[in-house]
């Protein structure tokens, strides 16, 4: 049955995606909810909580406030906290009860902004979508509001300036993958303006409009990519650059996009325009139609899993399908890949696989005859296997070697 899970975990939710995406940007993010969300997020979804200060709070909504529509209490509380804490911006993110009561996110944000003078967002998350939806919405909102008109179009001189979009610990933990992606781009001769949103200052991100091209490394980055495309005409490439061969291809795609202005996908089926039909190719690059399920299945977030699958295909010559469990942009998945948000979607899709690469909390539903390669992510199993989360950008061999 759809929506049931006998034993597997659930992905981090949209409201937590908002918090994660905005964590390092100096704002104050409020989850509009009764209780529990704050503890959940800071325990399981936020590895930076102990060491990096950020203003993440819960509104502590009560039954009476919800029934009576007492939004003034929320506004007062936010205003009081803002006077104490001086955030750079305020973000209010929703959960199921505000969704049910028809909470006016835009109107309340405008009211808070008028009363505090602090730029305020209202993100209508529901707590019923995955973190990808919320984090993408949050980065898009930030891009809309805070990225400056380029003063220096063509920044980087001879180098192509690029932003990395969609970088949060939910997909990449705090194991250095963000820095490795930056290092890879710099080694390829690109000028990395900013990383959205780990390790870059808001001032650096505000210059994102100067980039020639953006690299979307998870579906979390798609919202901001579209905003930057609309506002500044910046093209983007969708690719999680792991494995040397895919990294070379990603670098080519970035140069091509910067030159042509086209949005491209570079995820194992060559470089194609976003929206063009995906054509699976064999290891030698010859076009082929997948004959049944690939022997390898990668379960997880769409773009990162596609990068892993593509790298496996390029590095080892073995076909790998993606079972995408979270929201993914249109035209990104390839033939043979599947959207599998529920346990009952995933189980039949695992039949006949020789190798399954997934978070350890998927293992109980995997066929015992299949080889299971654990690839934990914060977005699914939280902190449990944090120390085992690899940096696949600098060392893809740690995964490929297990195949």
């Amino acid at each position: 049955m759809k929506q049931t899970a006998r034993i597997i975990s659930t992905y981090s939710a949209d409201v937590f995606g908002v918090c994660s995406a905005l964590y390092e940007l100096g704002g104050m993010t409020i989850m509009h909810d009764a209780s529990g969300c704050n503890s959940t997020y800071t325990t399981h979804d936020e590895p930076r909580w102990y060491d990096m200060e950020s203003m993440i709070y819960i509104s502590a909504l009560s039954e009476m406030e919800a029934v009576m529509g007492d939004d003034a209490k929320l506004v007062d509380d936010i205003e009081a906290a803002a006077r104490d804490l001086h955030p750079a911006f305020i973000a209010v993110a929703g959960t199921p009860i505000p969704t049910m009561t028809g909470f006016d996110f835009a109107g309340t944000a405008a009211l808070i902004e008028r009363r505090t003078g602090i730029p305020t967002f209202g993100f209508p998350t529901t707590g019923m979508n995955t973190y990808v939806h919320g984090a993408s919405m949050a980065l898009a909102g930030w891009a809309e509001r805070f990225v400056n008109e380029p003063e220096n179009a063509g920044a980087g001189g001879a180098q192509i300036a690029v932003n990395l979009l969609g970088v949060t610990p939910l997909d990449f933990s705090v194991n250095g993958t963000d820095r490795s992606m930056r290092a890879f781009l710099e080694a390829e001769g690109f000028d990395v303006l900013s990383v959205w949103a780990m390790g870059s200052t808001p001032a650096q991100m505000a210059r994102a409009g100067e980039a020639k091209v953006n690299l979307v490394v998870s579906a979390v980055g798609l919202g901001a990519a579209k905003v930057l495309r609309r506002r500044f005409g910046t093209p983007y490439v969708v690719c999680f650059p792991c494995g040397k061969a895919l990294q070379r291809e990603a670098a080519l795609a970035l140069r091509e996009a910067a030159y042509t202005g086209e949005d491209l996908v570079c995820l194992g089926d060559g470089i194609r325009r976003l929206g063009d039909p995906a054509e699976r190719k064999g290891a030698a690059g010859a076009a082929q139609t997948p004959a049944g399920p690939a022997p390898i299945a990668v379960i997880g977030e769409g773009v990162t899993s596609l990068g892993i699958a593509a790298a496996i295909e390029k590095e080892t010559g073995q076909r790998a399908d993606v079972l995408c469990a979270t929201e993914c942009g249109k035209g990104i998945l390839r033939g043979g890949d599947k959207m599998t948000p529920d346990e009952d979607d995933i189980i039949p899709a695992l039949t006949g696989r020789r190798v399954i690469i997934a978070d350890p909390l998927y293992q109980p539903i995997c066929p015992p005859e299949a080889k299971f390669i654990a690839l934990p992510t914060e977005a699914f199993s939280g902190r449990i296997w944090r120390k085992d989360m690899p940096d696949l950008v600098s060392d893809f061999g740690c995964l490929a070697g297990k195949l």
Binding site: T4, S62, A81, R83, P96, I118, N129, P364
Partner: protein
């Protein structure tokens, strides 16, 4: 008018939360403004997943939105209990389509059919959205019981929005633990201690009295099988001492016929003896003389004070349900208790609050969830001796007593054991950062 990001607002800031509020100036029962809430990285207290798992063999099924499921599913995973935990995700169309009852019934049934073994009991946790959609829970459970007559279904709740309306989720969960008990003939020699996450220490006065009088004492924590759990229904007395457990005791008394005795947790010798006297009177047994225990407490206080001297002491509400009772005991004995971390105080703390306000007005109260507490944890390690995980975190000390919710201690034993743990904490620093982040102190975990 818009300001530049980071530019301070003109109004003065209220900094009492981070500096501490002298109890002499504090209002009872809520000293601090309640507004937005912060969550510290301290995770030791139990939640409804941990507590529900106390029923042997029970399977938990949560029916909630993904955001609400996230915390509970990972609680189960961290305690290694995934096999006993399942979920049904509520999505937006379920709120609009009016088919919430069907989702619960069919979702729970689907999971039961997939379980490798039929559980004797299923705890179904519904959430805030069911309350707000007017979901017909009675019909749901009626259908489930008709469909699976061999399973005891218990309606449980994860509806924190109701925490200020009637019983809190914590009280409800501790009460629902016993909803699966079937009425049995009452045995006059059986007593059950109810509502605790941790088993009552065998060395406690309470257990000594009960065992000494020949009673069979049952607690959910020591039940190994579902049948042993059912044997609790034979009890002639239900004893609760944890404040959140008392409501469940009343319900049991009305439903199964035993007598409920609430003996509130305290660290005050007079109150302890009054409670034990009440117990003995109810059971019709002689009350022991506590002179030796009083002397032992006096000796232990002196021994501990001699060791720790004027070391600053901080206490928080996660250590036990009566942090002010502990503060009073220690201050009266000459300890340098400087801080108490708590956001509000129960009715049982009222007298201690008044006493401390009158006699130790300089004692500082600190909140734990006030927004400014994000910056209140001391950056440099301190030499504070902390009693409780939150006190340890906020004072940044490795010298701390790592116990939550009283840890099963009660009566004089709670005082003596607390002092022993304080001495041990003073002499043996622990890795505070690692220990306080483990979810559900005392649970078998995989972290």
């Amino acid at each position: 008018m818009l300001r530049r990001p980071g530019e301070p607002l003109s109004a003065p800031a209220d900094d009492r939360a981070e500096r501490g509020l002298p109890i002499g100036e504090a209002a009872y029962p809520v000293p601090f403004r309640q507004g937005l809430e912060y969550a510290s990285p301290v995770r030791g207290t139990w939640n409804i997943v941990h507590t529900g798992m106390l029923i042997p063999g029970a399977h938990e099924i949560y029916v909630c939105a993904a955001g609400c499921l996230r915390g509970v599913v990972l609680t189960a995973a961290e305690m290694g209990a995934q096999e006993r935990f399942s979920t049904v995700a509520v999505r937006e169309h379920d709120l609009l389509d009016g088919d919430m009852e069907e989702l619960v019934i069919e979702g729970v049934s689907d999971i039961i059919e997939k379980l490798p073994k039929r559980p004797p009991a299923v705890l179904v946790y519904t959430s805030c959205v069911h309350h707000f959609t007017g979901c017909d829970l009675d019909m749901i459970y009626r259908r489930l019981r008709e469909r699976y007559p061999d399973i005891d279904f218990t309606d449980c709740y994860m509806n924190p929005i109701m925490r200020k309306s009637g019983l809190t989720p914590d009280q409800l969960m501790r009460a629902r633990l016993y909803a699966g008990l079937h009425a049995r003939p009452i045995r006059s020699d059986v007593v059950s201690i109810i509502g605790n996450d941790f088993p009552t220490d065998e060395d406690s006065d309470l257990m000594e009295i009960l065992r000494g009088a020949g009673f069979t004492v049952r607690e959910i924590n020591s039940c190994r099988t579902y049948e042993e759990y059912q044997e609790m229904a034979e009890s002639a007395y239900y004893i609760s001492y944890y404040p959140s457990a008392a409501a469940g005791g009343k319900i049991l008394e009305e439903r199964l016929g035993g007598r409920h005795l609430y003996l509130p947790y305290s660290l005050d010798p007079d109150e302890i003896e009054a409670n034990l006297g009440k117990l003995c009177e109810a059971l019709g047994i002689a009350c022991p003389d506590f002179a030796e225990k009083r002397a032992a407490v006096k000796e232990a206080l002196a021994k501990t004070l001699e060791l720790v001297g004027d070391t600053p002491i901080a206490i928080d509400y996660t250590y036990c349900p009566r942090p002010l009772s502990l503060a009073r005991l220690l201050l009266d004995a000459g300890f340098a208790v400087e801080r108490v971390y708590a956001d509000s105080f129960t009715g049982e703390e009222k007298e201690d609050f008044a006493y401390l306000k009158a006699h130790y007005p300089q004692l500082l109260l600190f909140p734990t969830i006030h927004p400014k507490m994000r910056w209140s944890a001391q950056r440099e390690p301190s030499n504070t001796l902390a009693v409780g995980q939150k006190a340890a975190y906020f004072t940044n000390t490795d010298r701390f007593v790592n116990i939550v919710e009283g840890g099963g201690m009660i009566g004089y034993e709670a005082i003596l054991r607390t002092l022993e743990l304080m001495r041990d904490a003073y002499l043996q620093p622990k890795d505070m950062r690692s220990l306080v982040q483990i979810k559900g102190w005392g649970c078998e975990g995989c972290l």
